[in-house]
């Protein structure tokens, strides 16, 4: 088994905790002294750096959210003088103002380490040839993987995305062994490979490191089949550095968080209360080594679960599940947490279209939970009973998945209203009162 930085990746829990405590205390002091925006938040919360003696006190610190990043744009959260910064990266900014994150040279070095760990986690070494097809530029994907690949000592192909036939040409000619890109682009490369009349035997890829967008286990199997590789997940956010905050090992069962740099927490997104290990909630990160953009208790809005179990790979870092959805999307129906993505998963599994709408209301003190689903021809029955039976069966499958049973209404194709081409998935009438 190989590691990039074995000593820390396989450290005992005591060693890791001691390192986190020391780094957290130092980081809180630095942020308090250098970041006026966060100092204000701490003062409002009545917390001083002296209150933070270690990770056990983390819960006392105020949260940072995407809204804070927008308020403080562009320099309000800088932890060092601008002259110390050597680079920026930025989110795509499809909603609201874009986020700009800053890096010192030290930040970049540590980020490279995190990505190098991910490449080794996927079975890579300095002998490998790493083809990076994430976009280069403001987006962190390209430069991040590129940095990790360099640092590890791989021959690095800085391809960026696009021109898929040329990508495959390079794979054949230069015998790339590791691919880094978004999962959807990996699937597209795989399909193109087969369209060109080639098979996985014509290329030398053995592993892929895929992230920057949500993907499913089904997609993993599809990509592994199309390209003849093992597909590994990688997680990160521009706000925290980029890819490499966590990464998958040979187990492919969740991502080890680089805990010497990022402390993860799971909170109840409604109350902010810290939840115990194993419970689903919103993922929060505190970066304890970042200099230029040191975010404390940053709410990612990703919902997932943390598990610290002995991993066969030997790493001791805690593992996070693939994000299950966004906390913004979470609904609480009859006291149960429900995500539209779960409803969608049941529909697909049961052979229904994913055109649906969730309607929540209240009768007396009880929530009502209705799901409208567009049926297709294969679900048409000639009897009313046939349709009602299908509705009941679907409601049963929903109950198994969600823990709460909806009333299903099968409706005609294209009858669910779309606004600007996008279907409105949730109508919560409780909020209208």
């Amino acid at each position: 088994m190989n590691y990039y930085q074995k000593e820390i990746e396989c450290a005992s829990l005591d060693t890791l905790k001691a390192l986190q405590d020391e780094r957290l205390v130092k980081q809180v002091n630095r942020v308090y002294n250098n970041v006026g925006y966060y100092r204000n938040l701490m003062q409002k919360a009545g917390v001083t750096p002296d209150d933070i003696k270690g990770t056990k006190d983390l819960y006392k610190l105020p949260f940072l959210s995407k809204a804070d990043l927008r308020d403080a744009y562009p320099y309000g959260l800088l932890g060092t003088p601008l002259s110390e910064c050597v680079r920026i990266h930025s989110t795509s900014g499809t909603t609201g103002k874009r986020v700009v994150a800053f890096y010192t040279q030290h930040d970049l070095d540590l980020w490279d380490d995190c990505c190098a760990r991910a490449i080794v986690g996927a079975g890579g070494s300095r002998e490998d040839i790493c083809q990076v097809c994430y976009g280069y530029g403001l987006f962190t994907g390209g430069m991040g993987l590129n940095g990790g690949s360099h640092k590890l000592g791989c021959l690095t192909l800085p391809m960026s995305s696009g021109n898929t036939e040329r990508q495959i040409q390079f794979m054949q000619d230069l015998k790339s062994t590791i691919l880094g890109c978004t999962p959807s682009y990996a699937a597209y490369i795989g399909e193109t490979l087969h369209e060109m009349g080639l098979t996985p035997d014509d290329i030398s890829l053995k592993a892929g490191i895929f992230g920057a967008e949500p993907w499913t286990e089904e997609m993993r199997h599809q990509i592994e089949e199309l390209l003849g590789i093992k597909a590994y997940d990688i997680y990160g956010l521009t706000e925290l550095s980029g890819p490499g905050v966590s990464f998958e090992c040979c187990e492919q069962s969740g991502m080890h968080v680089n805990e010497d740099h990022f402390i993860p927490e799971i909170i109840n997104p409604e109350t902010g209360e810290v939840l115990p290990e194993g419970e689903v909630g919103e993922l929060v990160f505190t970066s304890i080594t970042k200099e230029a953009f040191p975010l404390l208790r940053y709410r990612t809005r990703d919902l997932c679960v943390l598990h610290r179990e002995k991993c066969s790979c030997g790493r001791t870092f805690i593992k996070m599940s693939k994000p299950k959805g966004r906390s913004d999307d979470m609904l609480i129906i009859k006291g149960v947490n429900v995500f539209p993505s779960q409803v969608e998963a049941v529909l697909i599994e049961q052979g229904y279209s994913s055109n649906y709408r969730i309607e929540i209301g209240r009768e007396g003190n009880m929530d009502t939970f209705d799901v409208l689903v567009e049926l297709n021809s294969s679900q048409v029955s000639d009897t009313v009973k046939g349709i009602k039976d299908s509705e009941k069966a679907l409601a049963g499958a929903m109950k198994t998945m969600l823990g709460v049973v909806p009333k299903i209404h099968l409706v005609a194709p294209k009858s669910i209203e779309r606004s600007e081409g996008k279907a409105v998935r949730v109508i919560d009438k409780r909020k209208l009162h």
Partner: protein, 141 residues
């Protein structure tokens, strides 16, 4: 022996049935028989035509969810008690009738009842034994 019937899922709103039948009329497809089951939430339009596959395609292309199933077309003699006789035969054999509706074949100058039963082959056998004619798709030729 059975004939093909198309079931069309209808939204419960004014005009949805008219839209479905207009699509067929535009494609010059003749409806030989039609019935509708209605609930507060949706409707099921059942139609019989001599051009089942074409009709199905026209409806699906028009955005409707529709499916084909098989039903019995039972010849009705033009005399009192003939429908009662059919129902008795089916009832005595323990065959359940889900719904029924009528249509006439101009070519054969005969009236038929469509029966949707819970056990089609049993129904066919007992009707045959009682000398009651069950028609097939040929009545449209």
């Amino acid at each position: 022996m059975s004939i093909k019937q198309i079931s069309v899922f209808l939204e419960n709103r004014a005009g949805s049935m008219a839209e479905a039948t207009a699509l067929l009329a535009d494609a010059k497809i003749n409806l030989r028989a039609l019935s509708i089951a209605d609930t507060a939430e949706f409707g099921i339009l059942r139609i019989v035509t001599d051009r089942t596959e074409e009709a199905l395609k026209v409806l699906e292309d028009g955005g409707f969810a529709a499916a084909v199933n098989h039903v019995l077309a039972v010849e009705i003699e033009d005399k009192p008690g003939s429908l009662a006789k059919i129902l008795k035969v089916l009832f005595d054999a323990g065959v359940g009738v889900e719904y029924t509706y009528a249509f006439t074949s101009i070519k054969a100058n005969t009236a038929y009842m469509i029966f949707r039963v819970d056990d089609r082959s049993k129904a066919e056998n007992v009707l045959k034994e009682a000398n009651i004619n069950v028609a097939g798709q040929e009545i449209f030729r």
